[in-house]
Symmetry: C2
Subunit: 127 residues, 2 copies
């Protein structure tokens, strides 16, 4: 599988709750960094465990993958009945068909009101 396909499968297997299948896509020492939250998850077991035990109800909408060399970037939207929805943009590194590292930005979907004096630069995305 090329890097883009590995990342596509990562999200597909997560959506399917195929935790063994997800683990097969990860290097043993896979590390994901969340730069804005200043957190890191280290190792396949922790990454799968974190996701497996996340409070249920979520789904994965894969919006796009941009793949170049050993890097693949994904943009996903994650609706959930009680929180979010969240978006995640993930910059994955792939070696030998497995994910080795990622930097990932999770951000909640929440309509922002620009300050009044700056509102004229903007349109509402939902209009």
């Amino acid at each position: 599988m090329d890097p883009g396909e590995v990342v596509s499968q990562h999200w597909e297997r997560m959506q399917a709750r195929d935790w063994d299948g997800l683990g097969e896509l990860l290097a043993d020492d896979f590390v994901v960094e969340w730069p804005n939250a200043r957190l890191r998850i280290r190792g396949r077991e922790n990454y799968v465990g974190f996701n497996r035990t996340y409070p249920e109800g979520w789904s994965i909408e894969l919006l796009r993958i941009v793949s170049a060399g050993s890097t693949a970037v994904s943009e996903v939207r994650v609706p959930h009945p009680t929180v979010g929805p969240y978006y995640a943009v993930s910059l994955f590194e792939v070696e030998d068909g497995r994910l080795t590292r990622a930097r990932e930005y999770w951000v909640e979907e929440r309509r922002e009101e620009p300050p009044a004096e700056r509102a004229h630069w903007f349109e509402d995305l939902d209009d």
Copy 2:
């Protein structure tokens, strides 16, 4: 300029406050969407104007560009003396050497405390 170089120049000229030079990289009808904030900035003039008038003190740290075909993704960190720092991940489309569209996620750097029962999955990124 290839798409990655256009995006690199976009950030370089923004850092330099080279507003005319920034405008030269944008299609007239350049549109940036902020999906999580549900906001959109439409047109070169508004995009340059918004950035030109943003309260001063910010700087741009270009962390990485991932370029594939007509798409280039950038990851930047934006320190500011009174807010943030912020990260932005931007998925730009480039045609004929100009930026035509972007989807951009801005998120503040702020240490998150995972819930106690989930903290064991994480490490502190700054340790």
